[in-house]
């Protein structure tokens, strides 16, 4: 199988390339990179105006399998990832059973190998504690040996300070980060949306930003004390960003990710009582959204990740306080990043590629992708100018819970190449 990708703009931070060129691939391997390539036997794909980048990875995805296959399966999640332009995802351990045993890691690997013929790499994230209950450490070494790339009790915080300390110490031996869902649960009981004037107007129980900030602040002290690697999931507050910024300046091993919804929407979206605006952490204020963008720009936030959280239609078709938290994100992430970050001058396309591909792979200890001759192609291709209207009915994910329905976005994933397989939208 020969493929000639013609005229795309290759942006590859690993090799420092940013230029229009052609890529000739044979059986998934990059044979030649150059200008004006012509191969008679090859299928030619015209990529003028499109971006060719090292494969994107979404390090915060809920694939829901095992246990919640009615929301998503590894198969449908992988399809959504491919359609969204991701060649890899990390799946969170709040499954049933939780990913707190190597057998579950192996189960996920086995399912992922056959999903779309292994097109998308699936990297499980192990639980920090047994059954994610926050009480006893999960077998972190066994999980790491089986292939868990990081540890998290995501969905819930690791709230016990000693457990967090021990997890940081223990995981550091294996070079794996602890990913914290930063939330002090004693401040968020019953909370449904960001605390402030909008929640006060709507009479909805508030979820104060300080609940996130103080958990990050505590954990950073523990990371400094233990030397462990600490990663903040879905950073949503201006105060949290400032705490991370100061820690980085002091040389502490801390990283952070932001979701597309937290850099796009504000709490104002909740005024409709649409349960697809309910997520954890909640949508915040304009000031927070601006601070998240600033933190993405200055490098305080290293990574864009979606917190793809599928829920069935009926689960969300209830009163706001009764609805589960979370939205799907895989199939809108690239477009939201282009629309909100690139077009608004927050990040260059090169910086977008770093936050979608280079930085998460580095944090997780995955091999860096260099787009060069002789390597297997692991590529994400997207059109930074294409406009489209979000139609959840067209999603490949099993779930449709998105607040972006009907929104016109710029930037569309065109296709991916990975493991000798290809997918085109």
């Amino acid at each position: 199988m020969q493929l000639l990708l013609k005229g795309g703009r290759l942006i590859d931070p690993a090799t420092g390339r940013d230029e229009e060129c052609d890529l000739h691939c044979v059986d998934g391997r990059i044979e030649k990179i150059g200008r004006g390539l012509s191969v008679s036997a090859a299928q030619v794909i015209d990529l003028r105006g499109k971006i060719v980048a090292p494969g994107f990875i979404d390090m915060h995805v809920h694939l829901r399998e095992p246990g919640f296959e009615y929301k998503e399966t590894i198969e449908t999640g992988v399809q959504a990832a491919a359609a969204g332009g991701f060649t890899a995802v990390c799946c969170m351990p709040n499954t049933n059973p939780a990913i707190d045993d190597e057998s579950v890691v192996r189960y996920i690997h086995a399912k992922a190998r056959v999903a779309m013929k292994g097109l998308v790499d699936v990297y499980p994230i192990g639980a920090v504690t047994k059954e994610r209950k926050g009480e006893h450490l999960a077998p972190l070494a066994e999980l790491a040996a089986a292939g868990a790339v990081a540890f998290s009790d995501d969905g819930d915080p690791v709230h016990d300070a000693e457990i967090m300390r021990r997890a940081l110490e223990y995981s550091a031996m294996y070079g794996r980060p602890i990913i914290q869902h930063a939330q002090d649960p004693s401040l968020t009981r019953g909370g449904a949306m960001n605390e402030g004037a909008t929640a006060t107007t709507l009479g909805l129980p508030g979820w104060p930003p300080v609940a996130e900030e103080i958990m990050i602040a505590r954990d950073i002290r523990l990371a400094e004390y233990t030397g462990g690697s600490y990663h903040v999931a879905h950073l949503s507050t201006a105060g949290g960003a400032e705490v991370v910024r100061q820690a980085k300046a002091r040389g502490i091993k801390v990283t952070a990710e932001a979701t597309p919804h937290h850099f796009t929407l504000t709490e104002e979206a909740v005024r409709s009582f649409d349960t697809n605006t309910k997520m954890n952490p909640p949508l915040r204020t304009r000031n927070d959204v601006d601070a998240i963008k600033q933190a993405l720009r200055d490098g305080t936030i290293d990574i864009i990740a979606t917190d793809h959280a599928p829920h069935s239609f009926d689960e969300k078709e209830v009163e706001f306080v009764a609805a589960p938290f979370g939205i799907v994100g895989l199939e809108t992430a690239v477009a939201l990043a282009v629309t909100e970050l690139f077009l608004k001058g927050v990040l260059s396309l090169g910086q977008l590629v770093e936050k979608f591909s280079v930085n998460p792979r580095r944090l997780l200890g995955l091999p860096a992708i260099a787009v060069k001759e002789g390597t297997m192609a692991n590529l994400t291709i997207f059109d930074p100018a294409a406009q489209w209207v979000v139609d959840p009915e067209a999603f490949r994910s099993k779930s449709r819970n998105t607040p972006f329905r009907g929104m016109t976005l710029t930037g569309k994933p065109i296709g991916i190449l990975n493991n000798g397989e290809t997918f085109w939208n």
Partner: protein
């Protein structure tokens, strides 16, 4: 002149002329309630379902009475706890009841936004009879009616709402309605009962009752949820009564003729002393009577909005 809405979900954003129309319409229904025969025919043939997913006595009785006074057929539904806990969703419950050819739905629910959600999934007119800590629009309307009846106007008056503003739908509906009608609104209570950002709604915030009393015309006293809040939102009932309890002595010290209201049910000698609740400042029982007239006006006006 019709209303600009086919549901009554809340007073936030409601047009001043709509509020005016409801208050004016209620005047004639209030007069009906003084007649020997208190029944009029406008909703004959209409069926109204009262869906009370949360405990309520006076609001439910008041709506039922208003519906019967207008000659509507009335269907009652009471369920404790959330719809989810029951196993049937709110949507299914409402659609099932609507399938019996209902014209209007009155809903009381513990979840903020439940009536708004309902208005999107069923065809009937929806009237919010209280949703969580969000709104209780007919209470806001009857409070405004009562103030106007007693003092002749709303514009330019200074109304203070006293107590747990955080958890109060009565407070929110009063704030939205009164501000729209040109009144000045203050809230008073301990800081632990003030929701974040309340000042952004256009009200003044007081923490000491004696500071605000000399400035106001009306004091609307909220019920304290003693079982739920003592120890968390304030230290003790005794302390609350000492610092926020409305007593005759306090009112007299303020040196103003203050009209005292309460949405009920009253905790006597907690948030309000008996001699105030039963005294000449109080319009608490007028509120109850006016509530029927206001609900008649709302039902009547919405019944023509299909």
């Amino acid at each position: 002149m019709p209303l600009h809405t086919r549901h009554l979900l809340g007073l936030e954003g409601m047009k001043r002329e709509d509020i005016q129309l409801i208050l004016d319409t209620a005047v004639s229904f209030r007069e009906v309630l003084e007649r020997p025969i208190k029944k009029v025919p406008p909703l004959q043939g209409k069926t109204i379902a009262n869906l009370f997913f949360e405990n309520s006595t006076r609001t439910r009785l008041s709506f039922e009475l208003a519906e019967r006074r207008l000659s509507a057929d009335v269907l009652g539904f009471a369920a404790s706890g959330s719809s989810v806990a029951k196993g049937e969703t709110l949507k299914d419950t409402a659609r099932n009841i609507e399938a019996m050819k209902i014209d209007m739905v009155v809903i009381r629910h513990s979840a903020a936004g439940a009536p708004h959600y309902l208005s999107r999934v069923i065809r009937s007119n929806v009237i919010n009879a209280g949703d969580g800590a969000h709104e209780h629009p007919t209470q806001g309307l009857l409070d405004m009616y009562t103030i106007r009846e007693k003092l002749g106007r709303l514009e330019g008056l200074h109304v203070c709402i006293l107590g747990d503003i955080s958890h109060s739908r009565v407070a929110r509906s009063n704030i939205f309605g009164l501000l729209t009608m040109g009144a000045k609104v203050s809230v008073c209570g301990p800081a632990t009962m003030m929701p974040r950002g309340i000042e952004n709604l256009g009200v003044e915030v007081y923490h000491h009752l004696d500071d605000v009393l000399p400035r106001i015309d009306v004091l609307n006293v909220l019920r304290i949820q003693m079982e739920r809040d003592a120890g968390r939102l304030f230290p003790s009932i005794r302390e609350y009564h000492n610092f926020y309890g409305v007593t005759r002595q306090r009112l007299e010290k303020a040196g103003r003729d203050i009209t005292v209201m309460h949405p009920g049910p009253i905790n006597r000698d907690v948030e309000i002393s008996a001699d105030v609740a039963d005294g000449e400042h109080s319009v608490i029982l007028q509120q109850v009577l006016n509530g029927v007239a206001i609900r008649m006006a709302v039902l009547y006006l919405l019944s023509s909005m299909n």
